[in-house]
Subunit: 74 residues, 2 copies
DNA sequence: CACTGAAGTATAGAAAACTTGACATGACGT
DNA sequence: ACGTCATGTCAAGTTTTCTATACTTCAGTG
């Protein structure tokens, strides 16, 4: 079973803010599969740092604008 | 074999800027093993986003201050 | 209604990240 | 010379991330 990640994200909001960009389009821009975007958007696991940087770059925002790390605790 | 990552970091410099903190101490603070810190410091692979956030938090700096993502290119 | 595009689920398997433990090196103090 | 501490290496194993296929649901359109 996957463990749900602590990191949250604003990918869905950013996609819509960028001309209704679809998950498939974002996946292509980032260079991953559609399933990966779905899983991350749903917080099923947190992406690699590389992927996080690539996503932020697609939306032209800083990394902290896409991903949030809560104070702590499992 | 791990593939060398595109992401670079300033962990070593930050460790020394924080009272000569050792790799073992940083590992303990972050909650990973010493080997993991060594590998990341050497750029053998890039950490998970969660770990990246935790490291930045230890040094009390923004994530982009610890990790840099170059323009592109594989 | 049939057709299409976007989102989601599921499963198996590859690849990358991370752990554990053992051993090697160089710098430092006694 | 000896012990210790910080760094680094190696190899085998586990967990998490990511891919690839295939199938489902729902909103919109002709």
């Amino acid at each position: 079973m996957g463990k749900p990640t602590k990191v949250t994200n604003s990918i869905r909001a950013l996609r819509f803010a960028h001309g209704e960009m679809t998950q498939a389009e974002l996946a292509k821009h980032v260079g991953v599969t559609r399933q990966t975007i779905i899983a991350i958007e749903q917080g099923r696991y947190s992406p690699s740092l590389e992927m996080a940087f690539q996503i932020a770059r697609v939306f032209k925002v800083p990394l902290d604008d896409v991903f949030q790390y809560p104070d702590a605790e499992d």
